[in-house]
């Protein structure tokens, strides 16, 4: 008897895009990724292939199944409110690609 195995996971080649060009651009904006022109269509194709496979979980009956976001059954892990040394400012700013005025410079948002 054969079970559906990994071989079936090859990307289908001619399915309707699950995620079209506009959606790719929208998601890329949300993720702050600039895509080159050729990347946009490729992304649409590749993501559609993967999503086409993922889509199969929509056939499962998952009514009443609780979602798992943690596999550890821990609760109330708390840290005592006791100070620990901060890093020296010089050390912190040594990482800054563009340090200025004692801080990390970036273009002002919203412009």
């Amino acid at each position: 008897m054969l079970f559906r195995g990994p071989k079936r996971l090859r990307s289908p080649t001619n399915i309707r895009p699950m995620i079209d060009r506009d959606q790719v651009l929208h998601v890329a904006r949300l993720a702050r990724l600039r895509l080159a022109e050729d990347e946009i269509d490729r992304m649409s194709r590749e993501l559609s292939g993967v999503l086409g496979h993922i889509e199969k979980i929509s056939e499962l009956d998952l009514d009443g199944v609780r979602p798992t976001s943690h596999v550890v059954e821990l609760e109330n892990v708390l840290r005592p409110d006791e100070p620990r040394p901060s890093l020296p400012k010089e050390r912190v700013l040594a990482y800054a690609p563009d340090p200025a005025a004692g801080g990390f410079r970036a273009p002002t948002p919203g412009r």
């Binding site: 959606q23 998601v27 993720a31 600039r34 800054a96």
Partner: protein, 488 residues
């Protein structure tokens, strides 16, 4: 002399070092020299230590060197996650797991190559070039801990640590013919491990022997106040000693077993032979079912990218790491978008896109919500299986090592490599891959003798000691030579 020293397993080396008939510096230099001379052939290391440690006889690991996946933060030492975005980054602190090894007397040989941000199954997604499989340089070592696996298999490190999110320790261990253990989620602290998918990531050993895996796990595991999800292990890890499997039941899941479509013939044959070995050792083989395991890949490729999309949002060119140069339009948006476009490779971008999409308004329930429920079902399936058997066994990887470039054009076919390893990750349970034999790939290429095949044994949460005990018995009977692919 040098070759003899290199052939020692890590635990043998520890014994020799502690016995005083081997000096830590000598062992370290033997490996450092080999890395310097031979790593060009593999590309396993991204950073090599020049510091030869002083004598370290008194502490448990006695100065035995170790290779560290470049996903672990090491204070003042480059930590790139194999990404351009962290090219010149040397963190201000050291990961707990690494700190514990240092405290136990281990010394760092170097930082190993990997798939960028641990995203990949072939190590071809490194921004600093692929790693080659010591068994066949035209083939991949697996991923994402490919550098760690290749270094150990190629005799460039006695052992290594890696990380496993959906198979990233077990699959490269299988493809390189060594032992790889993914511990129970929470056994080892994640603090200082550059995050890929936080609810799945787990640190573990890549070693030449099961005994080494147990020894290393013992030093890695433990609760960490810096990681709220860390528990450690309920008991000390005991070194394995079992020579038979009497009274143990091994469940073969129909869905992930040798007959599942897409499992390579040679892999299936090796798997079946290993079942015979288990029977010879007195273990019972039972068929079990994991009905939702075939949906593991779907759930995994929603959950992991979703978490990754948030974990990688911090690489924005403001506080550290790469920042896109040049003027652009000078806006914040422009800075973000160009920095991230330049800093991330194609696979990382693909997963960020996938994860962002799966979490975005209108799609969350259909993708992320359902994937989390599938995750529950998969864990329930394992619970049911462990009601009938002690361990679940599967091939680690559907195939032996494949050729460089073979799957880079088709993400889904690459994701297939994780088919047998992802369900355990989703359930958070421990699983070890041990080398079970050699087999010719379906493409007919590779060395005459064949390429390594991994045998995966999974147990219930926190069953590491029992799991490794069973693995040890099988390992002793199979007697796979893990030094066979040593370079030079």
């Amino acid at each position: 002399m040098s070759r003899e020293v290199i052939a020692l397993s890590a635990s043998e080396a520890v014994a020799r070092l502690r016995g005083g008939d081997l000096a830590a510096a000598e062992l370290f230099e033997a490996y450092a020299d080999r890395i310097a001379a031979l790593d060009d052939q593999l590309g396993a290391f991204l950073w090599k230590s020049e510091h030869v440690p002083g004598p370290g006889g008194g502490v448990p690991l006695a100065g035995v060197p170790i290779a560290i996946k470049d996903l672990f933060c090491t204070e003042g030492v480059p930590t790139t996650a194999a990404s351009r975005v962290l090219e010149d980054y040397a963190p201000p602190y050291t990961a707990t797991a690494v700190r514990k090894l240092f405290d136990a007397g281990a010394s760092m040989l170097g930082k190993t190559n990997m798939d960028e941000f641990a995203m990949g199954s072939s190590n071809e997604n490194s921004a600093y070039g692929p790693v080659r499989n010591p068994w066949d340089r035209e083939r991949v070592p697996g991923g994402s801990s490919g550098g760690s696996a290749a270094a150990v298999a190629g005799g460039l490190a006695p052992w290594a640590i890696g990380t496993d999110t959906g198979g990233s320790i077990r699959q490269p261990a299988a493809l390189c013919g060594i032992v790889g253990l993914k511990p129970t989620y929470g056994a080892v602290s994640r603090y200082g491990m550059v995050a890929f998918a936080s609810s799945l990531d787990q640190c573990g050993p890549l070693t030449r022997t099961v005994t080494d895996a147990a020894l290393l796990l013992g030093h890695l595991a433990g609760p960490d106040p810096c990681d709220s999800t860390s528990l450690g292990l309920p008991d000390d890890v005991t070194l394995p000693a079992r020579t038979d499997l009497a009274g143990l039941r091994f469940g073969v899941p129909r869905e992930l077993g040798p007959e599942a479509e897409g499992i390579e013939r040679g892999v299936a044959d090796t798997f079946n032979r290993t079942l015979e070995v288990i029977a010879e050792l007195g273990g019972a083989i039972e068929e079990v079912t994991l009905p939702h395991a075939p949906h593991g890949i779907s759930a995994y490729y929603v959950i992991a990218p979703a978490e990754a999309s948030a974990n990688l949002a911090r690489y924005d060119g403001v506080r550290y790491g790469l920042r896109a140069e040049g003027n652009g339009s000078g806006t914040l948006l422009d800075l973000y978008e160009r920095t991230r476009a330049e800093g991330f490779g194609p696979e990382v971008k693909r997963r960020i896109m996938l994860g962002t999409f799966a979490l975005s308004a209108g799609f969350y329930e259909a993708y992320y919500g359902r994937a989390q429920r599938v995750r529950t079902k998969i864990a329930d399936d394992f619970d049911a299986a462990f009601g009938r058997c002690d361990f679940v066994v599967t091939p680690t990887s559907p195939t032996v090592a494949f050729k460089l470039g073979e799957r880079t054009g088709d993400p889904l076919s690459m994701y297939m490599s994780d088919y047998c390893t992802v369900p355990m990750s989703l359930a958070g349970i421990p699983a070890v891959s041990i080398p079970a034999g050699l087999a010719r790939p379906a493409d007919g290429g590779g060395p005459e003798a064949g390429l390594p095949v991994g045998f995966q044994i999974a147990g219930p949460a926190f069953s590491e000691s029992r799991l490794l005990d069973a693995a040890y018995a099988i390992e002793q009977r199979i007697a796979f030579d893990t030094t066979r692919a040593f370079l030079g």
